[in-house]
């Protein structure tokens, strides 16, 4: 199944759950999902035999301060069909909150902790939402574009 076929299939089946979908120049299928349908969409992709996305290979985020949003990016992978899907969710930058997909893929646990640590996205229902890399008493979110700190030296151009 090519990515175009997969796109057509997902477009037809999850019309009410997704906002847009596209196959990028690198032949990568990118699906923008509604925030409230995120967990249902993920569970359906994992469980339905024709998709079989058993593996969450990456979960990260991108900060867009000008557009006032933080985009959550999930990379899914199917061992069975060897196809890949990039899933995006737009979140409000002032109060980024989203349900956890920890119950769908176990590996999301640490990924979500990392995104919480570095971007400040709160995952509702997460079993253990603590900082994973920065010191526990740290209060800032280093990968946000407007991050500044005392010991942080920006490279002069």
């Amino acid at each position: 199944m090519t990515n175009e076929d997969l796109k057509a299939k997902i477009d037809a089946e999850f019309k009410d759950k997704i906002l847009s979908s596209a196959v990028s120049g690198q032949k990568e299928l990118i699906v923008l999902v509604k925030a409230d349908a995120y967990v249902d969409f993920c569970r359906a992709l994992r469980d339905k035999a024709e998709y079989a996305f058993q593996h969450l290979s990456c979960l990260t985020a991108v900060d867009y301060p000008k557009e006032n949003k933080i985009t959550l990016v999930d990379h899914l992978w199917s061992y069975k069909f060897a196809h890949q899907l990039t899933l995006k969710v737009d979140l409000d930058r002032a109060n980024p909150r989203i349900s956890t997909v920890e119950n769908v893929w176990k590996s999301a646990n640490w990924f979500e902790r990392e995104v919480f640590d570095l971007y400040g996205v709160v995952f509702e229902g997460h079993s253990d939402l603590r900082r994973i890399m920065m010191p526990e008493d740290y209060t800032k979110f280093p990968l946000r574009k407007d991050f500044t700190d005392d010991g942080f030296i920006v490279k002069p151009n």
Binding site: M133, M134, P135, P142, F147, D149, G151, F152, I153, K155
Partner: protein, 180 residues
Amino acid sequence: MGIGLKGLTRPEIEQMEGESQIPGLWTLEKAVGFIFKWARKNSLWPLQFGTACCAIEMMATAAGRYDISRFGSEVFRPSPRQADLLIAAGTITEKMGYALKKLYEQMPKPSWVIAMGSCTIAGGPYYYDSYTVVKGIDSFVPVDVYVPGCPPRPESLIHGLMAIQKKIEDEPIFRRRRNA
């Protein structure tokens, strides 16, 4: 082998006697100091603490080709309580900094510290745009010898070790360690 103290005058030693509340420091230093120094400098036991690529060079230094045991320093200890030389080999992040400080404080005094590589000296390649890397470990542990390089070759580390040995020879045996 030096008997007496290089670079320190008798009044300075007497002042140290007063501060340390140990009478007869000068006499002791002259009588048995060289034995202490000889023993100390030829049996420096480093702490096995490598955090990044400098650790590879440290391992190479300990291995056969460069062989740090020629300088009596081959006994890498996994416990800070048995070590008296801390070779900080590799990038120290803020979170690892707490561990490094704790390890230093657990080492029995007198102990010495080598800052190995650019990262531990000043942040190295992570000086700019890094939110985690400590810009020099000398902000929280007292460093005796800086070994520059990214990473330094084993010869450089051996040179650093010899500088520590020189330092042990030149310092009084009851030298006071400053607290970080």
